[in-house]
Amino acid sequence: MGGSASQLPKEQLAEYQELTFLSKQEILLAHKRFNELTKDERNPPTRVPMDKILALPELKSNPFRKRICHVFSTSEVKDGSLTFEDFLDLLSAFSDSATLEIKSHYAFRIFDFDDDGTLDGGDLEKLVNCLTGDTDDTRLTQEEMRQLITNILEESDIDKDGTVNLSEFQHVISRSPDFVSSFKIVL
């Protein structure tokens, strides 16, 4: 839907504008970039595979790129492929005008590596490795990791169940003045 046509019809554009946080120029640019991903194929599919999405320069070096694709993908086989509307969802959540609630919600889902609805020790450890670099010489030592995760759970796990749930996560996020401006991807 909207991925194969070279021009976006006006009603479609208006609908996209109303349902996402993107402006008209941003939607048109997204449409152009999305089509460029499949321009070599004679029969471009509506659903673009994940490796093509990951080739976008904005996502190529992001340590969370695979998680982002998985979170926004509506594919039944969970392969991280995105339709144009999923792509717009992605850009809308990462846009300038998206609200703090939307951004914190999606940030939580991105950090939830095992998709169980809470951030437990394993999720936090994978998160730290993504943030510091996942190679042998850039990871923290076991001791430091343990100390760090204990500190995080002590700070943010308010109900003391050993995991950080969405409300606790949003509580931490709400105290940061920089989150909204750093959780941004602009084409």
Partner: protein, 718 residues
């Protein structure tokens, strides 16, 4: 009802499986009006449009704010459109107002100076370095607005009136016996070698001295034409005072905003790790180099924070003897630091005295002599903090305490050394040592024919020298250092490494430069304009140097709390400059030979004199405002407002604590409910896979429904 129809048809896109179950889940729940819309994105399908106006204006935004996939949002919108909205005039007006305010905010954000550069700096080097550049931007805007103010009220009228040769009235004064004071010899020599122009430019003498640049050029005239009168001396004085008040208000407003942020984020150290991990990544970074830089940054920060925590734990476990020993060592080191600073002050006082009392000499030697105070100040500002840093290594404080101590010591050194310079100048002007030189004119007319211009020249030289030092340091130290480190593989060189952008010394440089400008603004009206240009050039030079030469800082620097410290230090500099201003205006006698206050007893006396010229009602009104009958009720009112605001602040603090406790209770309720449900289902003997989907997400009603989609087939709470 149309909702059931909708549910049966399902959503005709991919992934309809668990979305359907989600819809049915939502339909089963009663509409929960208690849901906090802001805390969790939760859409209530069954809600009717009783909310009326409020709901209407939120609807277009409401659909976007749902964290659902695109197809679901489309479905929700279609449902909403089936309901006829009651678009009253109030709703339309408030909606238009909201749209206008959001557009205005967007436009304002676009207009913000250097927004993209500062954001890029923050992404690569962290919040600490970014806060320096934000502070620099604030000072540029402040100086620009001040220079507009001064230009509008002092410079342009003076230029206009001088060129138009309007009918001027000069106030009468009895000047018998003061002829020797009125000598002001400024005409440059007829034969001047070319390089003297350059020397004059650097020292503010010669052709620059008798120009709009300095105080001495302005006349004490009052222009009275048909229906328009402009009192230049009064304008000069009031503009200078208003300039200070304007800067004070800007600093206080900005500091208030920064303080609010620092308070709400809890001072930084609380929640530091979670905040760093959850909000620390900048998703706008592109390219491998930027990503690696940021990852290194985060890793350094984490490692240093963890190490600081380990050190603190270790420090708590020291024995009594060790703690006593540490405190004794710290006292000794503080005394050494004080002695160093005192020595620097003595040096500056001596250098200023020497430079002022020397005869004017030609050429480079003369220039060096003129710049001697600046050279000594800059040298001490460079050497003493270096020694203090080495001493601080022995003190064994935690890293953040060390940084704050270094900042405070350097502040003390820089600003008080400036004060010593000014004090020495004032001593010479008012003949502290040699009473006879001041006999007719009440200031030392032999050395200073126009002492205000001389003070203005000193400040001008300080500003220029500071600028030159910064640029020269960048060119001669930072760039070569990077080239040596990159191309030479000796272990010593690699150990020294690339430069690290240290924020406290750079911020102090800015505060020092701004204090000098404030001190000199009364005597050199174009100084704020010069300073604007200087700070703009420094911004670009520092930015280029940062990206080319520096590596990310290994030490943490909490930007939110340090922002408050920057503004406090700036305020300290401002109060120093205000002291100078008030003393010059109220105590010292203006020069007889130059300037707009030629024949007044003090600069301030022009105000009471002009007061006589006002209309009687204005005089009465101003007298009433100055009297006790007005100021005491005003004071009482301010106290009442202060008490009210303090009470409000404590109430908000209490509600934050209450909300935190409520969050904890909610978690406990959740666990309790889970246990209850498990017991009930066990009693009834219902098999696991048939259990109601609500079990998949046994959270309180207000939390978002999307969690069900996370585990479509698992059942974590069985």
């Amino acid at each position: 009802m149309e909702l059931n129809e909708f549910n049966r048809n399902g959503v005709a896109t991919a992934g309809s499986g668990y979305f359907n179950s989600e819809q049915s889940l939502r339909l089963r729940r009663p509409p929960s009006h208690a849901s906090n819309q802001n805390a969790s994105p939760h859409f209530d399908w069954g809600r009717s449009s009783e909310g009326g106006e409020d709901e209407d204006e939120e609807e277009p935004r409401h659909v976007r704010e749902l964290p659902m996939p695109f197809a679901l949002r489309k479905a929700v919108r279609q449902v909403q459109q089936m309901r006829v909205p009651v678009a009253s005039r109030r709703a339309r007006r408030s909606r238009a107002l909201k749209r206008f305010s959001s557009q205005a905010k967007n436009a304002l954000a676009l207009v913000t100076l250097w927004r993209k550069s500062i954001h890029k700096i923050g992404g690569h080097f962290g919040g600490g370095v970014q806060s320096y550049f934000v502070f620099l931007r604030f000072l540029v805007v402040l100086n620009f607005l001040s220079s507009l103010l001064i230009a509008g009220f002092v410079l342009i009228p003076a230029i206009v009136f001088n060129s138009l040769h309007l009918n001027t009235t000069i106030p009468e004064a009895n000047l018998t016996g003061f002829e020797v004071c009125m000598v002001y010899d400024t005409s440059p020599n007829a034969l001047t070698v070319f390089y003297t122009y350059f020397l004059d430019l650097l020292s503010g003498t010669g052709f620059m001295e008798y120009s709009y640049m300095f105080y001495g050029y302005y006349n004490n005239t009052m222009i009275v034409t048909s229906g328009f009168s402009y009192n230049i001396p009064l304008a000069y004085l009031l503009t200078a005072s208003f300039y200070f008040i304007f800067c004070f208000i800007c600093i206080i407003v900005r500091m208030g905003g920064v303080w609010r942020v620092a308070v709400t984020t809890g001072g930084g150290t609380v929640g530091g790790y979670s905040m760093l991990l959850f909000t620390g990544w900048d998703y706008g970074l592109q390219g491998d180099r930027a990503t690696k830089l940021k990852q290194n940054n985060i890793r350094y920060q984490l490692q240093v924070d963890l190490e600081e925590e380990r050190l603190q734990l270790k420090a708590k476990s020291l024995t009594l003897l060790q703690t006593v020993g540490t405190y004794a060592l710290r006292t000794l080191l503080n005394l050494i630091v004080l002695a160093l600073i005192g020595g620097a002050f003595a040096g500056i006082a001596f250098a200023t005295q020497f430079s002022q009392t020397q005869e004017a000499q030609e050429g480079i030697v003369g220039l060096l002599l003129e710049y001697l105070p600046s050279i000594v100040i800059t040298a001490s500002n460079f050497v003493v903090p270096l020694l203090c840093d080495q001493i601080a290594l022995l003190e064994k404080h935690s890293p953040s305490t060390t940084i704050i101590l270094a900042l405070l010591r350097a502040v003390f050194l820089r600003l008080v050394s400036l004060a010593v310079l000014l004090f020495t100048l004032w001593e010479n002007i008012t003949c502290y040592t040699d009473r006879s030189a001041c006999s007719p004119c009440q200031y030392n007319h032999r050395i200073y024919q126009c002492w205000e211009t001389r003070v203005g020249q000193e400040m001008y030289k300080l500003v220029l020298f500071d600028f030159l030092t910064t640029i020269v340091k960048l060119i001669l130290v930072d760039f070569p250092r990077r080239m040596v480190v990159d191309n030479c593989s000796w272990s010593l060189v690699q150990w020294v490494g690339r430069e690290e952008f240290l924020v406290p010394p750079n911020v102090l440089g800015l505060v020092y430069a701004q204090t000098v400008v404030w001190t000199g603004a009364l005597f050199c009206p174009l100084l704020p304009l010069l300073n604007t240009i200087k700070f703009v050039i420094i911004f670009y030079c520092k930015k280029i140097s940062l990206f080319q030469n520096c590596r990310p800082a290994a030490r943490t620097f909490r930007s939110t709390s340090s922002n408050v410290v920057f503004f406090l230090v700036l305020l300290f500099g401002w109060s120093l400059a205000t002291t100078v201003l008030i003393y010059s205006m109220a105590e010292l006698h203006p020069s007889y030979g130059c300037g707009p206050f030629r024949f007044s007893v003090t600069m301030w006396s022009i105000v009471p004199n002009s007061f006589q010229g006002l209309s009687p009602t204005t005089k009465e009104f101003l007298r009433y405002i100055g009297s006790q009958a007005f100021s005491i009720p005003l004071l009482l009112l301010s106290c009442v407002v202060l008490c009210y605001v303090a009470a409000l602040a404590s109430v908000y603090g209490n509600s934050v604590a209450l909300l935190k406790a409520q969050l904890k209770l909610e978690g406990r309720d959740k666990q309790f409910l889970v246990k209850q449900i498990e017991e009930l289902t066990k009693k009834q003997g219902v098999p696991k896979h048939d259990r109601d989907p609500i079990l998949r997400d046994p959270t309180p009603m207000a939390v978002d429904p999307m969690r069900a989609s996370f585990r479509p087939t698992q059942n974590n709470y069985s």
